[in-house]
């Protein structure tokens, strides 16, 4: 079975400030602030995780419907990959 997962981009530079995460990289002048669920996902992805793992942890944490969480997480992950803060991987 093929699983889809994500890990932080190794070129990202980040700092945690309370619940927020500040992220930048060497080739970028700007800096992003990841707050709320985005910050939570960033912290969880200190180690590589599959989408299913992320959904399970977040659904437990926020006590929400896993299906709804999955939709939100998919959208967020897509956005974070587009900004090059995360790197997707596919494993067996």
């Amino acid at each position: 079975m093929v699983t889809r997962g994500y890990v932080r981009s190794s070129s990202a530079l980040s700092r945690q400030v309370g619940d927020e995460t500040l992220v930048t990289r060497v080739d970028r002048e700007s800096l992003d602030v990841l707050a709320g669920t985005a910050g939570h996902i960033w912290r969880l992805l200190e180690q590589p995780r599959t989408v299913a793992e992320l959904v399970e942890i977040l659904a437990g944490h926020y006590r929400a419907d896993p299906e709804r969480i999955r939709r939100d997480v998919d959208r967020l992950l897509e956005d974070l990959v587009e900004r090059e803060w995360l790197r997707p991987f596919v494993g067996a």
């Binding site: 530079l13 400030v17 309370g18 500040l22 060497v26």
Partner: protein
């Protein structure tokens, strides 16, 4: 706050700060760069803050972390330029400690970039950094002064990002006694933004932290003291090597001063693997006082450096450069709008000589008054 996150480091009872004292405390936390540790202490309940105080602290910490990220971005760019120029460099303090030693890099803010390069590569390193837009903030007293007697050049770019390019760890006599080339044998990797950089290993980093804590500022800053404590509990310090350096590099007094100051500040002894040194060389103690006493303000460090410079010729060249620097140096050190003057430059040694003469005259007068032979003649 300084002891937060250390084994037995934090206070047991939460500390509350009244609104009348908060702004003063916040300024001090910012100046001492302790906002990360303070935030952690607040999250652990050891620092009892109301909502407004917590928000202030978060804002201060966010500002420091944004600056730290800007510095790390610059560090990576400089690192690749130094690599391209085949300059062997080591990252000191700041980012190296934040990522290599502290459990959370946000506990260890920093305000500049510190790099150590080998003596023989110093000109090449300056050229490489200059090609990235970094220029010396201050002129040297005379060309080649830093490469021979100084410890670092302060460089900055148009965005006022500061880089301290070191050739040794500290200015003054201890900087002359330390053998920086040996430090390059005590380095290790750390990863930043996917790039592998070099930092001092925990033994060399502890030696540097002690030097910085004891000799850097007077009174000592709290973050370097925390660095000393953080490294002491790291479990991989080679105390035999520390002992060797303390003997060969005259650092016994510095280490002892740093460990005592850290223990006093934290209220508990550190796990130090060095025996207390019963007797130090008087010269080393005098050299330490040049940094830690009032002598620091009155040219004490320069005087102690003269004694540490080997050979008469070197001593004369050092004193000559300090007393008769190039005009460009005077201008760069003068207050804005002033051209700088040699008389202004000599004010400190003149005051020192005058002070010495007065003490000498007073001593002679006292002796003369107390002299029993003279009293007998009366």
């Amino acid at each position: 706050v300084v002891g937060t996150g250390l084994p037995n480091g934090g206070r047991q009872r939460p500390i509350a700060v009244g609104p009348d004292r908060w702004q003063g405390i916040l300024s001090e936390l910012k100046w001492q760069r302790l906002t990360g540790l303070a935030l952690r202490a607040a999250q652990e309940g050891a620092f009892d803050l109301d909502d407004d105080q917590f928000r202030d602290l978060m804002t201060a910490q966010r500002d420091l972390m944004i600056h730290a990220l800007v510095l790390e971005r610059t560090l990576l760019a400089l690192w690749s330029r130094l690599q391209a120029a085949e300059v062997e460099a080591v990252v000191l303090k700041g980012s190296a400690l934040a990522h290599g030693v502290y459990p959370d890099p946000s506990w260890r803010p920093f305000g500049d970039i510190d790099l150590l390069v080998r003596d023989k590569q110093w000109p090449k390193a300056l050229k490489a950094l200059s090609s990235c837009g970094f220029q010396r903030r201050y002129q040297e007293p005379r060309p080649g002064f830093t490469a021979r007697f100084g410890h670092a050049a302060l460089l900055e770019d148009s965005q006022h990002v500061e880089v301290d390019l070191h050739r040794t760890l500290v200015a003054g006599p201890f900087g002359m006694w330390i053998q920086p080339d040996e430090l390059f044998d005590r380095t290790t990797d750390f990863v930043l933004g996917g790039i592998v950089l070099r930092r001092l290993d925990n033994t060399a980093a502890l030696a540097h932290a002690c030097v910085h804590a004891s000799l850097g500022f007077r009174p000592p800053l709290l973050l370097p003291i925390r660095d000393v404590a953080q490294l002491c509990v790291s479990d991989d310090v080679d105390w035999e090597l520390m002992r060797d350096w303390s003997r060969r590099w005259h650092l016994a007094v510095v280490f002892e001063h740093a460990f005592d100051t850290a223990a006093d500040t934290l209220g508990s002894a550190l796990p130090v693997g060095l025996e207390p040194v019963a007797r130090h060389d008087r010269g080393d103690r005098r050299a330490l006082r040049a940094y830690t006493s009032d002598r620091r303000r009155y040219g004490g460090k320069a005087t102690a450096t003269v004694l540490a410079i080997p050979g008469l010729r070197g001593k004369f060249e050092y004193v000559g450069a300090l007393l008769f620097p190039d005009r460009a140096f005077l201008v760069s050190r003068a207050k804005e709008g002033s051209a700088g003057s040699y008389l202004g430059r000599w004010a400190v040694p003149i005051r020192w000589v005058r002070g010495r003469s007065v003490s000498l005259m007073t001593a002679i007068r006292d002796w003369w008054t107390r002299n029993p032979m003279r009293a007998g003649r009366r």
